[in-house]
């Protein structure tokens, strides 16, 4: 035990001797958290609209007013031709063009169907779909207004109606900051621990200082544990600071038990550090390690479900996520922080993470050779 403590002390000295790294370990995650969390949102602030009004009647203007009044749409341009409208989309000056053909007002007046043409810039498919949904909503509203006006000439019997009301629990206003903070924090902690721990070991190999450890009676597991502990501590501190900042600045709720969250994070860190050390025992140079680490990190992060729902992934991707520690961290962080899930709710996640952690660490200890 004393040996491990001495080794841990040595590791800490080694980490903080490089002034840049010593500061960056804490500064980089905090700065990135502060900058990135408010930026990340799928919400659409406003949709820029170009309207070709070939009708110019009170009905067409009524529709345009309705669109402007909705708050989502900004009527930026009123081009006269299709070509002009297409150029606006190509130049990214507007997102959606709406064409109201002549005869629109007349048709509505007589109760026949009137057509309007909408074109959306769909390079970003999800934004295009959302804009279209908003636009459709406004048109539907306008429709019912018109129908009510026409009701005297064309009476309708009321049909049975199902009223739908919806509520969002745990995050009533669907605040993205609450959702993204635990996720981004998780990624930052992953990146720092994974990279630095792995690089640390490979560096000793590359520079040759590992020889000095190898000739001592330090056991293999002691060495690996000593390489792990400092980064677990650093990771936990980063996590704690990030959460306090989230609470103060973004008012992110903390519903669950703090101890449970840190338990999850600690097991996660052991898993990810175990993997990092395992990879580093396999690689000869820092460059090699870095590329393999980069490869794994990108895959782990993108598949973890931080930006996209886990459930929409195909079967093989969900199967892969069974061994993806980051995916578990995402779920544990969000469930405990936002929903107040208890240890029973996340027991599957915790157990799986524990198995991954033990396996990776075991491999790291096995693969580390004291003989050069």
């Amino acid at each position: 035990m004393r040996t491990i403590l001495y080794l841990i002390r040595k590791e800490f000295i080694q980490i903080f001797r490089n002034k840049f790294i010593g500061r960056a370990i804490f500064a980089v995650p905090i700065v990135q958290l502060l900058i990135l969390v408010p930026a990340v949102t799928f919400e659409i602030k406003s949709v820029r609209l170009a309207i070709i009004d070939r009708d110019m009647t009170s009905e067409s203007r009524g529709l345009i007013n309705k669109l402007e009044g909705s708050g989502f749409f900004e009527v930026k341009y009123s081009p006269f031709s299709d070509g002009e409208a297409n150029n606006l989309i190509a130049g990214d000056k507007c997102d959606v063009t709406l064409q109201i053909p002549s005869g629109f007002g007349k048709n509505i007046g007589t109760g026949t169907a009137a057509r309007i043409m909408v074109s959306a810039n769909a390079v970003n498919a999800s934004t295009a779909m959302l804009s279209w949904a908003y636009l459709n909503g406004v048109i539907r509203d306008y429709n019912s207004v018109v129908m009510e006006e026409n009701i005297n000439t064309n009476p309708v019997t009321p049909a049975p109606r199902i009223m739908i009301e919806n509520r969002y629990w745990y995050n009533e206003m669907l605040n993205y900051k609450h959702y993204m903070l635990p996720g981004i924090l998780g990624i930052l902690v992953t990146a720092i621990g994974f990279l630095l721990a792995g690089l640390n070991l490979v560096r000793e190999k590359e520079v040759g200082t590992i020889e000095q450890i190898n000739v001592t009676p330090v056991r293999k597991y002691q060495f690996i544990i000593a390489k792990m502990v400092p980064f677990i501590i650093i990771g936990i501190i980063d996590l704690a600071v990030g959460m306090v900042l989230g609470k103060i600045l973004f008012d992110v709720p903390f519903e669950g038990s703090i101890a449970l969250l840190f338990l999850g994070a600690t097991i996660f860190l052991i898993a990810i550090l175990g993997l990092a050390l395992f990879i580093s025992t396999l690689s000869g140079t820092q460059q090699q390690f870095m590329f393999i680490a980069f490869f794994f990190m990108i895959i782990f992060i993108l598949m973890s479900g931080i930006f996209t729902p886990y459930e929409s992934m195909p079967g093989w991707a969900q199967a892969f996520n069974k061994v993806n520690p980051v995916a578990y961290l995402m779920r544990i962080n969000r469930m405990v922080m936002l929903k107040g899930s208890t240890i029973q709710d996340i027991s599957t996640e915790l157990w799986s993470l524990l198995i991954i952690a033990v396996t990776f660490t075991f491999f790291a200890v096995r693969r580390y050779r004291k003989t050069a």
């Binding site: 408010p38 959306a120 390079v123 199902i162």
Partner: protein, 368 residues
């Protein structure tokens, strides 16, 4: 010149000696394209829904069946009381609970209306919105079938929509440009900064500095192999996206390749700049990976449109080069527009390259 070529050859040998690095270098883009193409999707499939049916009549049964057979949802549980909602949502498998009020079916007939509440798990805002929208659509659909043709009046205004550039609303159109942008800047900056700091850390740079090669030649020699490799990478990604996702380059391919070269050059000079400010490889890796990865993904407009962010970010993201390249590549690849539409962004990238090179020259020390 011969000296310089010899040096470039030495650098190539360095790279090719380590075949693992090379595999990863070309493996990362390929893996990412495939992951994004097949695994990352924002649609819902088989989202878990629980039902709290306080009425248990024929109508609620029909609605439940309709929801479960839609393909978007699968039933996780039938709840018995309101208190169960919190319990099941906390488990995380269930994304929403559909609650039918008591006497749902009777009320619908006798009073002409009855209500359903959808309680969604808001801790995942995106999924929550999608699930609620889909559920609402299914129920509304059921409602209009119920109303029957006798009372339904077709809406007066019918709208036709054209989705420009991407009629199938595919995600590929967004992520292929994004991945090219992300991969190029990370790999170029990482590689150059690491190979230069490596020589610094091991002291081998001294050998180079005392050689008759000029500092500019040393740097250029270090950078040339990566320039060529990255360029091959661009072609590879474009081929892959064309073969796998049938996503062709709509505009001029020469223009796209020329712009890519400019972007690679910019990323390489950024890498050189990083190497001049860091003394160890760890530091260089930390800056170019931990420092740059998330901002590149999040602030470039790759996944999240910049226009939706708070106003400050419009300015803040202006200093991130990926933002400009994404605009350029989307314009040329997907919209098929010409140089006239991207000259401003091109100019910004060129100026950034010059600034990075200028700063590196100022920081580069001939003596250790």
């Amino acid at each position: 010149m011969r000296r310089f070529l010899g040096f470039v050859k030495k650098e190539f040998l360095h790279i090719f000696r380590d075949y693992r690095t090379l595999i990863i270098l070309f493996g990362i883009p390929a893996a990412q394209i495939l992951i994004f193409g097949y695994a990352v999707s924002t649609d819902i499939k088989n989202a878990g829904v629980a039902f709290l049916d306080l009425s248990k009549d024929e109508t609620t049964q029909k609605i439940t069946d309709k929801i479960c057979s839609s393909g978007f949802f699968k039933r996780t549980e039938n709840l018995l009381s309101y208190n169960d909602i919190d319990r099941i949502l906390k488990k995380g498998k269930t994304k929403a609970v559909v609650v039918f009020e008591e006497n749902f079916g009777n009320k619908l007939i006798s009073e002409g209306k009855s209500s359903i509440s959808i309680i969604a798990d808001g801790s995942e805002p995106n999924t929550a919105t999608l699930v609620t929208n889909y559920l609402t659509a299914i129920i509304t659909d059921f409602n209009s079938q119920l109303a029957g043709p006798a009372t339904s009046t077709s809406p007066l205004i019918q709208s036709e929509v054209t989705m420009f550039y991407n009629p199938g609303l595919k995600g590929h159109f967004m992520f292929v440009p994004g991945i090219i942008t992300l991969i190029l800047i990370l790999i170029c900056a990482l590689m150059t900064s690491v190979t230069i700091t490596r020589e610094k850390e091991f002291g081998t740079i001294e050998v180079l500095l005392v050689s008759p090669l000029k500092p500019a030649q040393i740097i250029l020699g270090k950078v040339t192999p990566y320039f060529i490799l990255s360029f091959i990478n661009v072609i590879l990604i474009l081929l892959l996206s064309w073969l796998v996702f049938k996503l062709p380059v709509k505009g001029s391919i020469m223009l796209l390749l020329a712009e890519s070269m400019l972007y690679i050059l910019m990323s390489l000079s950024l890498g050189i700049l990083i190497s001049t400010v860091s003394s160890t490889m760890q530091q260089a890796i930390f800056i170019s990976l931990v420092g740059m990865m998330l901002p590149t993904v999040l602030l470039s407009g790759f996944i999240f449109p910049i226009r939706n962010m708070p106003e400050v970010y419009n300015w803040l993201s202006a200093i991130f080069p990926p933002r400009y390249f994404i605009i350029i590549i989307k314009n040329i690849m997907i919209k098929g527009t010409g140089f006239l539409y991207v000259w401003k962004e091109t100019l910004v990238l060129a100026v950034m390259t010059l600034i990075f090179i200028g700063l590196s020259v100022r920081n580069f020390k001939i003596r250790l």
